[in-house]
């Protein structure tokens, strides 16, 4: 008969091996010796003081208090907690971004005070065909990048959730304020957008 496997030897010394396989140990010197060795070392290991000394009765409450203090600043849920904790504030954040963008637009569209041609030549640095991005003050570039990134990520649903909606009169006013070139460009953009959406 086949020798006992290591799991079977463990079952044998624990008394859980089935009777047919256990009977093999009586007939096999090799398996009997292996089982005896295991029993000896188990006896030796279990003969040591395996009782964990009981700590002071105050220790348990002290341990609980230490854990309580340590978790006081923690949050449950591992790495994903922050992903969910900001969601309730998303509409407010979206509203803030929109307000900042609208304010910035209003400020940029405010009619400039009249200047003389000479003054304009001295202050204007934008040449035709010049990259507008290059004209942004380096001190404000970081703020501008944050705003544009936030606007790019802004979902329409978030804007609606924030109670923001666009009024048609505002669009009319904006279109009326465009120059002829700007109107042409708007028309071109609308046509290309319509073509793209119909495909």
């Amino acid at each position: 008969m086949k020798h006992l496997s290591s799991p079977e030897l463990v079952e044998f010394i624990e008394g859980t091996l089935d009777a047919r396989r256990a009977a093999h140990v009586g007939a096999c010197d090799i398996c009997r010796a292996a089982a005896t060795d295991l029993q000896d070392v188990m006896r030796r290991a279990s003969s040591v003081d395996n009782q964990v000394p009981e700590p002071s009765p105050l220790f348990w409450d002290h341990l609980s208090a230490r854990v309580r203090e340590a978790v006081a600043d923690e949050r449950t849920g591992g790495a994903s907690w922050w992903l969910t904790s900001w969601r309730p504030f998303a509409p407010a954040a979206a509203a803030l971004v929109v307000v900042v963008l609208v304010s910035a637009t209003v400020v940029m569209r405010r009619p400039a005070p009249p200047v003389s041609v000479g003054e304009a030549r001295e202050t204007a640095h934008v040449e035709p065909g010049m990259d507008i991005d290059a004209t942004i003050d380096p001190a404000n570039r970081e703020v501008w990048e944050v705003l544009t990134a936030a606007a790019a990520d802004l979902e329409l649903e978030d804007a609606h959730a924030a109670g923001l909606s666009v009024q048609s009169s505002a669009i009319d006013r904006a279109v009326q304020g465009l120059s002829a070139d700007e109107l042409n460009e708007l028309g071109r953009l609308l046509q290309s957008e319509l073509k793209r959406s119909s495909n």
Binding site: S6, L38, S47, V48, V52, P55, W60, R66
Partner: protein, 201 residues
Amino acid sequence: MPTRAWEWTVRAEPGCKVTVTNPTDAELVAAVLAGHRDAFDGIVERHRRHVYQLCYRFVGNHEDASDLAQDVFIRAFKSLRTYKGDAALGTWLYRIAVNVSLNKVSAKSVRPEPLDALLRTHDLRAASGAESASEAVLRHERAGQVRAAIARLPKKQRATLILRMYHELPHEQIAGILGSSVGAVKANFFHALNNLKKLLS
């Protein structure tokens, strides 16, 4: 363990308080995840003794076992959302305790309890006439040899031996803690005993 009640407010119904007397582990976990941090006290209170004792088996002294037990509960709190309830909470905590302890022990050799601390325990035995001081010293030396030999076993064999021999957990639960099959646990136990024999001879 004495019966204890935890009380918390139901978030969906403000003003509605729920008192749970002697809640199950699952109820405590659900309460913690719902934001009732004090419910975690219940989990600590219920499992701290077993967790501490398991840590003690790995490091062999109160100071390190105490630190490890604290670390186990902090890690459990941080990752409570990953606990799916497919195993008993105790088994899940044991799994964390084994990982934390094995990492600690591998980084730092086992530092057994000083003899005087054990002799304080012995004083109680001696007072009851159980053994003499020389017997206590001999027992301490033998225990130290066995603990040192166990500490030299490969990690999985060491964990299996401690959980099986000293915590008397069934093979099935050990398999759940170590994330292996019952057959593998028995084979590990066999190899642990064989290696222990070589280390002690």
